[in-house]
Symmetry: none
Subunit: 215 residues, 2 copies
DNA sequence: ATTACTAATTCACGAGTAA
DNA sequence: TTTACTCGTGAATTAGTAA
């Protein structure tokens, strides 16, 4: 179970860099006494969920992983009626990365997806049983990224769908003129997903489509 | 806060259709007695988080919304972390250290970055694949350190970006007129990072850019 | 079987406070 | 200031049990 405090620290960005957060502040936030907040923070520290760095607090990778697992589980359940793809990671051509890292695209990605993608895409070869789902997905209203011209070259528009891999927010992108077949999904994220999730070619991945029609 | 029980019910798919779930089963799952599970389920029912339909349990829309909000918050926070560079530590010229240790600079560093930098910079030669990211980084709004004049000499303004190496807060600095090429990052920190992290020339380092868009 | 009541118990909480 | 200790109290938990 993830504690109130972990959520609060996450909200404060204490998973990125150490933050100065007092026990009194935590107490007020989660509605307990300063003493209880102090005790709970010590418990979290003993469990290895937080670390103290020169009087500041930072969430450990362990704690962040816990949150990711929890988010992934909840997403899985919530979008269970929604959609997910099973596939294996394959070597990309590097072409997609160049193509998608054009400034005009990345600015729109940032605006419409909420993140500026890492300069590299994840290519996932989905299992044949899921190709039907891919077609269903494409029938849904996509997040539209406009195309543009740059000199002689034309960069076509892109359809995107929010998704998550192991709780990490991503998007499946379908460039207007794709060189990939029906079995391939191209995925972008703010992160270098290979590093972040310790993925390598041939590994199995679960791509969970995030339903944006929620409240 | 979302309870263990809500998560368990979610896992069981009790947000889709009523499920036969006993108090004993819940007790075992969340590690409490059957009596406590019974009481907690009654509490959830009183709060309007679950409903009983012919002896079966179903999560209410209210409860599901709570979970959605929580997941959205966590995803949002997890998105917040950013770019990272892989590189190797190289011998600095010592020039940067002199330049950056000027009082006018250090005072502003203290104010805007939260630390007075150690009189020495870390020069990291990034891998070619990450040069693109460097350009992306420079497109983001930097922390601006003003320049000044001292006698005949002009000290130009500096652009800085918060980052972390092995969890130690640092900043990547881009002096207005840098002698470094695109492959080199100059990093400052409160600490002597070479000592603090036991680094030496040629060692691999991971520089994680900290998202400054937080509160 | 399962649920939920009451009574016993325990252990988490906040007050007070030293560092 | 903030943190974290001790300690008395009571809310939360478990045991026992009836339905």
């Amino acid at each position: 179970m993830i504690s109130d405090i972990t959520f609060y620290l996450l909200e404060k960005g204490a998973h990125i860099e150490p933050k100065r957060i007092t026990t009194g502040e935590v107490a007020k936030q989660i509605g307990v006494s300063q003493q209880t907040a102090s005790r709970k923070l010590l418990e979290l520290e003993n469990q290895g969920d937080i670390e103290k760095v020169s009087g500041k607090l930072i969430l450990t990778e362990k704690a962040i992983s816990k949150v990711r697992a929890c988010v992934a589980m909840a997403l899985d359940a919530l979008e269970g009626s929604g959609m997910s793809f099973t596939g294996t990671l394959v070597q990309g051509l590097g072409e997609g990365a160049y193509y998608l890292s054009q400034g005009q695209y990345t600015r729109e990605f940032k605006k419409k997806l909420g993140f500026k993608p890492f300069a590299g895409t994840l290519n996932v070869s989905i299992v044949p049983e899921d190709i039907e789902k891919r077609i269903t997905l494409r029938q849904q209203k996509p997040i539209a990224i406009k195309g543009f011209k740059k000199g002689k070259r034309t960069f076509g528009s892109i359809s995107a769908y929010k998704c998550a891999i192991s709780g990490v927010p991503c998007a499946i992108v379908f460039p207007e003129r794709s060189s990939h077949g029906l079995h391939m999904l191209e995925i972008i994220s703010k992160f270098n997903l290979r590093k972040k999730l310790s993925l390598s070619d041939g590994k199995k991945v679960l791509v969970e489509v995030v339903n944006t029609s929620g409240p």
